[in-house]
Symmetry: C3
Subunit: 253 residues, 3 copies
Amino acid sequence: MEQRAKEREQPLTFVLVHGSWADAGFWNGVAAMLRRMGHRVYTPEYPGHGSDPNKNVTHAMITKAVADFIIANNLRDIVLVGHSFGGSVVQKTAELVPDRIKRLVFMDGFVLGDGQSVVDQFPLPVQQMFEQLRQTSKDDSLVLPFPVFRELFVNLADIKLAQQLYNEAKPEPAKPAFEKLDLKKFYSLTIPRSYLYLTEDNLLPQGEGYGWHPHMSSRLGVFRLIRSHGDHMTYFRTQPGLLAQKLYEASRD
Amino acid sequence: MEQRAKEREQPLTFVLVHGSWADAGFWNGVAAMLRRMGHRVYTPEYPGHGSDPNKNVTHAMITKAVADFIIANNLRDIVLVGHSFGGSVVQKTAELVPDRIKRLVFMDGFVLGDGQSVVDQFPLPVQQMFEQLRQTSKDDSLVLPFPVFRELFVNLADIKLAQQLYNEAKPEPAKPAFEKLDLKKFYSLTIPRSYLYLTEDNLLPQGEGYGWHPHMSSRLGVFRLIRSHGDHMTYFRTQPGLLAQKLYEASRD
Amino acid sequence: MEQRAKEREQPLTFVLVHGSWADAGFWNGVAAMLRRMGHRVYTPEYPGHGSDPNKNVTHAMITKAVADFIIANNLRDIVLVGHSFGGSVVQKTAELVPDRIKRLVFMDGFVLGDGQSVVDQFPLPVQQMFEQLRQTSKDDSLVLPFPVFRELFVNLADIKLAQQLYNEAKPEPAKPAFEKLDLKKFYSLTIPRSYLYLTEDNLLPQGEGYGWHPHMSSRLGVFRLIRSHGDHMTYFRTQPGLLAQKLYEASRD
């Protein structure tokens, strides 16, 4: 059920930060819908992704690229949105340019505890799979086996779309996901924050000490919860209007 | 998606017990829909709320007022519904007039363990916020900061409705929420019970040892679960037909 | 909202394994919808159920009957689906005929840990109720009290349908649910697996160390998650098209 984007009441400035195995184009559908709703939308692409062949990047390089993009475009009062790995980027970017951010929105995005890495958020067998993938790679990048991508990233897609999305994904730099991040400053910030939770997203176990929500979301303290149907990646392609509407509900004042 | 109230099969007698920062008028929309479906509906208002200026009330005074209302109106075979703080009122009222109650329905209502208070159900930082609000008050009442109300009570509302609902809320007597309740008799009762869970209600964390459901609902033993979209307060105003329909499904035999 | 079964892309061979207090007829509605979608559907009925008056059966007898059915019909590349108790049957059947199975689908089905029984998955008070029912039975079978069936198995039904479904249920052989199962071989299998979770199914508590998903589903390791509205039994009768569509999404490549 594609929901019509119907609200125009408050024009916002979105900066949408993509996740792993993705690039700026990941947001194409949602960004187009948000623009149609009257919002300004920016989709910075960070090092090690898109057409960048260099996989030797750090989390700090990625964060700096996003912050530099915000400054270079002189953006203020922004809604800074992070999907998946982009959640951890949003956390660190908020430390760099807190005064330019009106609200942080995590869209099935990682919210790391101080001193943790993205990989720390997965169950041990998945951590071991990531470690093995890393060691068998020539350039310290991660290429997911198709069955893992199909079941955990795009469980709502049919097989044709699953294969298409898999083929579009480029090898992901491993290092940033393994880096333990100092997030003391993030946890001192008082910027309003929201969590947009997609209820069919099973990339992380949905409970038992894991998961996007409520496990990681609860680290945000007081936050606005919005729920939507969706798995980790499929609806960005097949239901951009629904996700844009939910993103607006997560982002408005 | 407003769902039409379409079932008329079993006329019920509802007694709807409001929560904190609310009064009998809180139920206006839902009560009107239930009446249209053919049910009898009563919405008692208890001390310290509505037009009552006296904030020096106890949980026992509130409970007694609801039980007295039921007796004075000679109500029997009632479905006793408690929303939010009203859940704890329903628990104690059931101890006073068990033979008049056909079913208990908790609608994102507190189900306290024996010896616990409402405030005990919140994470420590929120408990500390309540404590601070209490101490800065002149009449031992609680006035929520707007951002907390907006994010945790009406996360699905737009800003205009959020402000309107906030402005309508009167200061809440603090004492009843801090009182530890003896609920031994409640836990010996065998009245059928239901839990109506609103899935976007994030006032309490939705897991990790907290929450309306399954954390508090599981204290009810065998109970009927009904789910609906909705946050803590918004849909009472914007989707009364949906909530009335779900309430009927929770309440019928 | 009955969802139209619209996809025909991949014809599958389903073997649908019913649960306790049920028989092959339990699948009638869903099987008819799947056939209309172009799939082949088999619904084996196992010992101690349907018209079989003998309640003195074991879990191994049940499993063997399902495996024999698959072999006798020369079925290959099957999607083996287990509902409720049928989940534990699917686990053991997969050990017997792994090469004939394309995918395992648990539909609010038990996924037992190695050495556990079905009864082990319930909270202690429910375990004690089962034990008492067993001891008061003449033929070691279980007959649920109506209120328990009504609240935990068919919470979404109206009272008329609840009574009808209750009256159709035959006494359930107790022994198989109490047997501890050796599942070491199951946990060595790499057959793809899915979990179809019905979000109003409260037969097991939905968290706090219990439940279909994520508690038992997480034992499957990497699996595909599909969610649908539905309680434990009602929608098989009232929404077969919705369940068939979700089952297809759980089962396709």
